[in-house]
Symmetry: C2
Subunit: 169 residues, 2 copies
DNA sequence: TCCAAATACGTAGGCGCCTACATATATGTC
DNA sequence: GACATATATGTAGGCGCCTACGTATTTGGA
């Protein structure tokens, strides 16, 4: 039924995406079922600001290992929702300093028990799946050492030009 | 630097998505570097048609474990590119029967060595990451047994209503 | 001191998937 | 054989991320 298990390498990206869609979708349904107005993409930035205090777009992108563009869009959404505020960094006008608003602090407090439940569910799932998180760590590390692009080009019968994938870090 | 490793459960979806983005992106760059006009999302449908012959939208969705909507959109893209053709199933006019065109067959032949390289690279990556594919299998199975939604709701302090996540297929 | 290069952030538009809803055809029951 | 229900596919629009490119500010030689 699930042919992707037999499709091997070329499908591994699709499989990862599929599982992430399931998890994201279920998380979205949890917030909806509890009547909480919350977007999945807010989590990283919000959690980061709650744990470590004010930060710039670039710092958040680096910590979350996503692009600054994605953080920038999330910031706009968070500001529109009144959860986060921002101002130009007085020491460097290129930077934007993000902080939680009072509403933001309250939202984080309200969500904390839910995030705890997430954590427990993830631990349970992780145990069921034979330490999936450790595997994710190893996958991250392996890709950081040598990107899939470089691996494929190195294997290709006729390697073509010497182009290389951009670094991910 | 990568805080997501410490963020635990609530970030697992984001981490999976992130890795899938890296892999998808590298795959896209490989096709681009070789000058091949190919979209990532074509792979599942194309590979399935090549391996098992003509199939309907629903059959492909089921085999690939994605929604029929996604397959429908991919079909339109493949038809526009002249790689796939379709006709109403004579036995059931609701169904659409997809087949590879001659161009489609040629494209699959041209891509076969590349997909082989993908496969080798994935095997290498898989070995580097301590059998990530087996972990993905277990994750699939664990989520099929009990969705993340159900796991979270079961753990929540005040479980709220008796709603449940829809089955995944 | 001036100006090229680097850095920080933003906008436009795309990708591959999704949910919600609409349409067309088939099926089963009275 | 008519009609409610089930099934197969499609359309509209959203999500969270991306690349490509543009603008504003800072930095570091010549």
């Amino acid at each position: 039924m699930d042919y992707t298990r037999g499709a091997g390498g070329a499908a591994i990206g699709a499989r990862l995406r599929r599982v992430s869609e399931w998890i994201d979708g279920d998380a979205t349904r949890v917030y909806a079922a509890l009547g909480i107005d919350f977007e999945q993409r807010w989590f990283g930035v919000l959690n980061q600001l709650a744990q470590r205090g004010p930060a710039s777009v670039g710092e958040l992108a680096s910590a979350l290992r996503i692009t600054h563009v994605s953080v920038s869009q999330t910031r706009q959404s968070l500001e529109k929702a009144g959860i986060v505020a921002s101002e130009a960094d007085p020491a460097d006008a290129r930077r934007r300093r993000l902080t939680l608003t009072e509403d933001g602090v309250r939202l984080v407090e309200r969500l904390t028990p839910l995030w705890w439940a997430f954590e427990q569910a993830a631990l349970e799932l992780n145990a069921d799946a034979g330490d999936a998180v450790a595997t994710l760590d190893r996958l991250d590390d392996a890709l950081a050492r040598k990107s899939l692009f470089d691996r494929i080009i190195a294997i290709m019968p006729s390697p073509g030009s010497g182009t290389s994938a951009p670094p991910r870090g």
